[in-house]
C-alpha cells in the first residue's frame, strides 16, 4: 500500500498522483502509438472506431458524468459535426479548418439548446435534448440541398495540407492525437474552478448554489464543451463511415453513447474510454449472438436496443459505478489486502430527494 505525503499544495491538482501513474500511462501511450505497427488493417479500423466512440463518449461524459445532466440527444451533435464537416469539405474548405468549424458549430447549437433548458431542473434538459435530436433528424431529411436528405451524402477522404489520407493507420493517428488532446483538455478543465463547479452541481445543486456557483452558467458551459467534443467526434466519424445518412444518427446512437458512459463508469474519464471498448466488444458479440439465436428473435430490429437497455438497467441497479468502479474496488481490495472492509464502497440509502418546495 502506497502512502502519499503532501509536500506541496499543487500536489492536489497534479495529473500524475505518483510514479505509478507516470509509468503505466507512459506504457499505455507507447502501446497505442505502436498499435498500427503490430495490427493489420482490419483491427486498426476497429480501433479507430472505438477511439471515435471514446471521443463522443468523453463529450457526453462532460455533461452527464461530470455535471449530472442527462442528454438523450448527443447523436444529434455528432450528426451536426459530421454534416457540417462533410458540407464544408464539399465547399473546398481544407480539413484542418473545417473540422474545428464543425466542432464549434455543434457547440453553438448546443449552447442554443442549453440556454432555455438550463433555467429549469435537469429534467428539462433531458427532454429538450431528446426533442432536439428528433428535430435535427427531421432537419437533415428535409434540408436536401446541404445534407442530401434520405439519399445520404458521400464524404471526401481527409487531406492534410494537400496530402490525401487513405491508409487506415494514418487516419488512426489523426483520431488518436485528437482524442489525447481532448482528454488533456477535459482533465485540465476538471481541475479548474469550472470543473469543480460542474462536479458540485452533479452532487447537489442546492449546496452548489449555496456556495455561490452560478448554476445556469455552469450547466450551459458544460453543455457547450460537451457539444464541441461530440461534434469533433462526429466530424471524425464522417470520414470513418464515408457515407452519411440520417438514420445513422438516430436515437439508437444516443442510447449507445449513454450505455458507453454508464457501463464504463459515470463520472470518470476512464469510464468513457472503457465504455467505448466495451461497446465495441458488445457489438461484436451481438452479431455473433444473432447467428446463434433462433431467427424469430435473432432478426428482430429491436434486439440490439433491447439488449442495450437490459445491460443499462442491470448496471444502473447493481453497479452504478460501472466497470471502472468495479476496477477501483478490486484495486482497493488488493492494495489494502488483509484490511479491506466490505462496506468501504457501500451505497448510502437515502430518502427521495425532492426538488419541489412545499
Amino acid at each position: 500500500m502506497r502512502v502519499l505525503f503532501k509536500t506541496d499544495y499543487n500536489q492536489d491538482i497534479k495529473f500524475a498522483k505518483h510514479g505509478g501513474y507516470v509509468f503505466w500511462y507512459a506504457l499505455l501511450l507507447v502501446a497505442v502509438f505502436l498499435a498500427p505497427v503490430a495490427l493489420d488493417t482490419y483491427w486498426v479500423n476497429e480501433l479507430t472506431r472505438v477511439l471515435i466512440y471514446a471521443l463522443a463518449g468523453l463529450g457526453l461524459m462532460v455533461v452527464t458524468g461530470f455535471t449530472g445532466q442527462v442528454s438523450l440527444g448527443h447523436a444529434a451533435f455528432m450528426a451536426i459535426g459530421a454534416y457540417t464537416h462533410a458540407f464544408l469539405l464539399t465547399q473546398g474548405v481544407p480539413f484542418v479548418f473545417s473540422l474545428p468549424i464543425a466542432a464549434l458549430t455543434s457547440g453553438i447549437v448546443g449552447l442554443m439548446i442549453a440556454i432555455p433548458a438550463s433555467r429549469m431542473t435537469g429534467l428539462y434538459l433531458t427532454i429538450a435534448s431528446l426533442a432536439f435530436a428528433i428535430v435535427v433528424e427531421d432537419l437533415i431529411i428535409h434540408w436536401e440541398s446541404v445534407t442530401g436528405g434520405n439519399r445520404g451524402m458521400a464524404v471526401d477522404p481527409p487531406a492534410l495540407f494537400g496530402y490525401e489520407i487513405y491508409a487506415a493507420w494514418e487516419y488512426y493517428y489523426i483520431v488518436l492525437v485528437l482524442l489525447i488532446i481532448s482528454i488533456a483538455l477535459v482533465l485540465n478543465i476538471l481541475r479548474s474552478p469550472l470543473g469543480r463547479a460542474m462536479l458540485a452541481i452533479r452532487d447537489s445543486e442546492i449546496s452548489a448554489q449555496s456556495l455561490g456557483i452560478r448554476l445556469a452558467r455552469t450547466k450551459v458551459l458544460a453543455f457547450f464543451l460537451s457539444a464541441i467534443i461530440t461534434g469533433l467526434a462526429g466530424g471524425l466519424f464522417a470520414h470513418f463511415i464515408q457515407f452519411l445518412s440520417p438514420e445513422t444518427f438516430g436515437i439508437l446512437l444516443s442510447i449507445q453513447l449513454l450505455l458507453m458512459i454508464v457501463v464504463g463508469g459515470l463520472g470518470t474519464v476512464h469510464g468513457a474510454i472503457f465504455g467505448a471498448f466495451l461497446i465495441g466488444l458488445l457489438e461484436a458479440s451481438i452479431s455473433i449472438l444473432k447467428d446463434w439465436l433462433p431467427p424469430a428473435i435473432g432478426t428482430q430490429p429491436g434486439l440490439e436496443p433491447g439488449l442495450f437497455g437490459l445491460i443499462l438497467v442491470l448496471f444502473i441497479i447493481f453497479e452504478p459505478e460501472g466497470v471502472y468502479g468495479r476496477w477501483v474496488k478490486l484495486r482497493t481490495f488488493l492494495e489494502s489486502f488483509p484490511f479491506y472492509r466490505r462496506n468501504t464502497f457501500k451505497r448510502q440509502r437515502s430518502y427521495l430527494k425532492t426538488e419541489r418546495m412545499r
Partner: protein
Amino acid sequence: MAEFFQLLIIGLSQGCVYGLIAMGFVMIYKATEMVNFAQGDIMMVGTFVAFTFIVTWGFNFWLGLLAAMAVMAVFGFLVDAIVVRRIIGQPQFSVVILTISLGFIFRAVAGMIWGQAPLSLDTPFVGTSNMGGAVIGHDRLAIMGGTVVMVSLIYLFLRYSRWGIAMQAASQNQLAAFYVGIPVKLVYSGVWGLAAAISCVAGVLLAPITLIGPLNGFLGIKAFAAAVIGGFGSLPGALIGGLIIGIAEPFAAAYLPEVKNIIGYLIMFAVLMLRPEGLFATIYQKKV
C-alpha cells in the same frame, strides 16, 4: 370553415391521446418524482395486450379493454415494485437512464411477441358523421369522449377515494405521509399501475387511427413535450399541453408541411424560452 372545423376535431382527438399519456407521466412524477420515460412504451404494450384479448382471444371489446387495463395496472405495479423502487434516492439521472432503458426493453420484447408488422384493432366506433360540412370519424369522437370520461374518473378518484387522497398526500410529502400511516411504497406502485392503465386506454382509443406497432411508443416523446408545455407536475396542464400539440399538428400539416413532424417540439422550445416554468407552474425552488 368546414376545413378548419375538421382540422380542429382531428387535432383535439390527437391531443386528447397525448394529454392522457402525459397525465400518466405527470401522475408518476408528482407522486414519486421519477420521470417515467417508458410511458409511451407502456402504452404500446397496453395496446398489444388489448389486441391479444380482443382479437386473438375474441373477447367483447369492452370486456377486453377492462381486462387489458387490469393487466396493465398489474404490469405497472410490478415494474415499480420490482425494478424502479430499487433506485429511489439515487440521483435523477439514474432514474432517467433506467426508465428509458426499460422502454427499449419493452419495445424489443413486444416486437418479439407480436411482431413488427402493424396490427389493426377493431373498435365499435366505426363510421363517420357529417357536421357542418366536416366529416368526423366516430373513432375521433370516441377518443374525445373517452378522454372526458377518463379525466373525470381520475379527478373523482384523486379527490374522493381513500387511495386517491393517500396518493396526493404521498406526492406532497413522502415522509409526512409515511408518519401518518400511509403505506408509501404500496401507494407508489399503485400510482405506476394507475398510470399504466390510463395509458392503456389512450393506446386503445388511438389504435383505429395509427394501427398497432412496437414503434408506437415514440408517441410518448410528444407526451413529454406536452407535459413540459403544461408545466410538469400539473395534471390539467398536461392535458392542455397535449391539446395544444395535438391541435398544432394537423394545422401545421395543412398550412406548413415542412414542420409537421416537429411542430410540437418547436412549441415546447418556444415555451421553454418564454415561460420556462410552463403554463401551469408547479415546480418551485427548494428552500433549505
